[in-house]
Symmetry: C2
Amino acid sequence: MRELGAGIVVIGNEILSGKTVDSNSSFLARELRQLGVTLKRITVIPDELDVIAETVRDFHQKFDIVFTSGGVGPTHDDITIEGVARALGRQVIVHPLLESKIREYLTDRPVNSAHLKMAEVPEGAELLMDDRLRFPTIKLENIYILPGIPEILQQKFLALKDRFSVDPYYLKIIYTNEIESTIAVHLNETLHEYPDLLLGSYPKIGNDEYRVKLTLESKDKNYVERAFAHLLNLLPQGCVVKTEG
Amino acid sequence: MRELGAGIVVIGNEILSGKTVDSNSSFLARELRQLGVTLKRITVIPDELDVIAETVRDFHQKFDIVFTSGGVGPTHDDITIEGVARALGRQVIVHPLLESKIREYLTDRPVNSAHLKMAEVPEGAELLMDDRLRFPTIKLENIYILPGIPEILQQKFLALKDRFSVDPYYLKIIYTNEIESTIAVHLNETLHEYPDLLLGSYPKIGNDEYRVKLTLESKDKNYVERAFAHLLNLLPQGCVVKTEG
């Protein structure tokens, strides 16, 4: 089965200082899961060149796909392009195509250095065009550079997503009204029989409907169905509130 | 001025797989900022022992305070205690005080190995008691081990927070109806005069009230006020919608 592992680097002091809640990583997490891509790491780092370069280099080496979010505007704190370039030992250049797109877009205004900053890319970067986008997405090797503004990040990701499709995960869910520590032994037993099962156990406080949500997943549909039947059979009678999937 | 840098390690496949949205790191980010603590890193990692150990060791060395969130329940995927112990080369032991508290709590049920798992701590850990909590918080050196369930994490953090208070940040905000690339030059000019200013520029799409929110911060109140006056004076006439702080 084709496997892809991904990492997300969120760049922005506004998130670390609690001014903004990052919604981009949870959006990407859901989208990647639907595509069958395994998200392995999310990290939120400050607008500091050394930290960006070091983190992006690390992710570039560890994961098949890397997304950066944030730090691509025209101001002093937008240093992602420079950070990604430094991560891979590249120069920053002004891309002629981006420059012409920006001049076209700003047809009625004088173009200043802040505008032209947005035409910068790491040397060797590809521009991924799409009819649905006003500006292309910048890609350097396995790194996709996305903006921090959620609406634009989402547009850009949706235009890219077809290239990441791999084998999907199959998910089954069991909701129980028993407490976690009582059913833990059955979870362990199931994992012993089905060691490749992705099994999650999530207690919910103050919920009338259930106490623990159990998630069973695999890229092998038959495997997850057998594990599901096995666990259902082990759980104490009457403790299953409902199942899904 | 007393400075403290913090890192948050969020442990949980449920977040990386998009099943759950992490609200703990944004809660901690806001709380730490109010205390004057500088949050330097958030990372979300899977329930994998090696990754937990490596990440916690790295954060333990880099930051003054480390919080972990998640992976402390009774089930197979709750391996944070073991990961933190491994990060610092410690054994995992059953803490007698925790064991007695768990037996007390479960007075009417048989105690199984899953229950006793929750009495485990890394050797040398401190238990931080508080009248407001049913169970103490486990601390190993500069690492505070917090649960993933938001309600309990919040209770535990609020009981701890007094120990982290340092000099606060002073924040002033300017909302403008000018686009970011036009005012970028004034931001750069202000940073040139006030190089220690923490200056953020956040465009908002589809907002009638303003186009860019500018945040000016410093732990030196007088400094941020002078920088604020300087920037207001530079901005094009009529572009400031309102100010705060």
